[in-house]
Symmetry: C2
Subunit: 254 residues, 2 copies
DNA sequence: TGGTCTAGCCTGTATATACAACTTGACTGG
DNA sequence: CCAGTCAAGTTGTATATACAGGCTAGACCA
């Protein structure tokens, strides 16, 4: 990094910084190419390249004739494929419902505090709910949320809006980390998911960040006989024949 | 598609076509910007945009002063994160070894023929091997390969080069599809993987394409207590603090 | 009031030009 | 023969300019 970064990259960085800091919020208007030309003393082609690449990378969305706008993270398909169990179920043409088992405020302890990078005793919300696909339990969601990110979490009706969708609204998703495991779930979980004793569980453990800090930590149990994660990976530009035997689904989200 | 595609996109398409058809092979030189200017009657900036985007998308690699070259798929990190159990194990600092249980030529039947989109009776290779991480079995690989894609498959020493790595060499990976499931493996698989009777298996079922046709179909069983899939998703440009509790691994490959 | 039209802004693309930095191979002088 | 130099080709960036096409608010007219 001895040489200074190219001009267009500096432009991109400065706009990304404004978005990350919260100065520019989703759906906010980003300075137009001509405004950047004046403000930043660059040619329009340079401003165009910066904004075009930010568009390609999913940070902003551009509309000819209207302008450039900070992406609403709900639809940032390039950056992070947003995943929501309710959307996924509806995409399959089935109906989603959920049952809230717990929705409480707690102090972070042990594993949870460590995962969320907060001090022991910090306020977190604990959510426990079962998601159903056509009356059949498909996911047990055990989630902790840093309270300061989602003050209204305790009053939210999570049968109407899933925690994932709610969180996406209050805390722009920037980064996600997940692990997928197979295990034998304990008796309580098996009962909630109506699993046989000899049925394995597919467990997704997911942590997401917003503004550089962990926001939520979730353990998602699924019945192994009724749930699978599927992904389809194709080079950009390759238009897929949407064949019936391909389910496109990126299991990423909060 | 009423309006003609923009010129730079036509350029990209024509180069992608040359790559997909095999006219241009990995490491081959792609016409330089100035050559494209003459051949295609465009300005250099247009040729530059086409090649630059192909570079961003992972189709080609550009080296200032040397030229533009078709990507070696082994390192196409943008397009498809190439995954190889041996590399993964070595990245963890452990040693990989494998045991070949079967390496035979067969006629495709039933599920296999269907998955590989070939007629019943078409020649396929069947591979069955166990991968070890430090003497501990970590993956049972049960794979079928369309014979016409990999004629030398039967003579290959798969303890030296994993099937995944070998296939990546002979059939440029273009597209991948995978499903992840949790299940209780049968007794034979449990024995090979030294799993307890009450241990779940993480099963990855993967199909990959080259030149528009399915090449290989694999079922990969892993012991649930010793293996997990982990992924980390961050917006491009966000430089990660490589913290110890984050394992970066995209489980994609052939 | 209500519909239409247009001016002005925006993005999208294309071109010509310029200079910098890197790589390679050939040439040249010792 | 070797080492240094240089020229040619390549990518990378930056600018000025031009035109096409989408969108919108406000002017204008019926």
């Amino acid at each position: 990094m001895r040489n200074p970064k190219p001009r267009y990259q500096q432009l991109k960085d400065s706009i990304i910084a404004r978005i990350s800091s919260g100065e520019l919020l989703p759906t906010d208007r980003v300075p137009s190419e001509n405004e950047l030309v004046e403000e930043m003393q660059v040619s329009r082609m340079t401003a165009n390249r910066a904004l075009r690449e930010l568009n390609d990378e999913g940070y902003v969305e551009r509309v000819a004739g209207r302008g450039t706008f900070v992406s609403d993270y709900r639809s940032r398909s390039h950056l992070l494929e947003v995943h929501n169990i309710a959307d996924e179920i509806e995409r399959r043409g089935n109906t989603h419902s959920s049952l809230v088992l717990r929705q409480s405020k707690q102090k972070a302890r042990g594993e949870v505090a460590k995962a969320l990078h907060v001090e022991q005793g910090t306020a977190v919300f604990h959510l426990l709910l079962v998601h159903y696909e056509n009356e059949s339990p498909i996911q047990l969601e055990d989630r902790h949320v840093v309270a300061s990110f989602a003050p209204g979490c305790i009053d939210q009706d999570f049968t109407a809006v899933t925690p994932s969708a709610y969180l996406t609204g209050v805390a722009p998703l920037q980064e996600a980390e997940q692990a997928v495991r197979a295990s034998i779930a304990n008796k309580g979980i098996r009962a909630r998911l109506e699993m046989n004793d000899d049925e394995a569980a597919l467990v997704v453990i997911r942590r997401t960040w917003s503004r550089g800090r962990p926001v939520t930590f979730a353990r998602l149990h699924h019945p192994g006989s009724r749930y699978e994660l599927t992904g389809h990976y194709a080079p950009p530009g390759t238009l897929k024949s949407t064949s019936a035997d391909v389910v496109q689904l990126e299991n990423i989200g909060q």
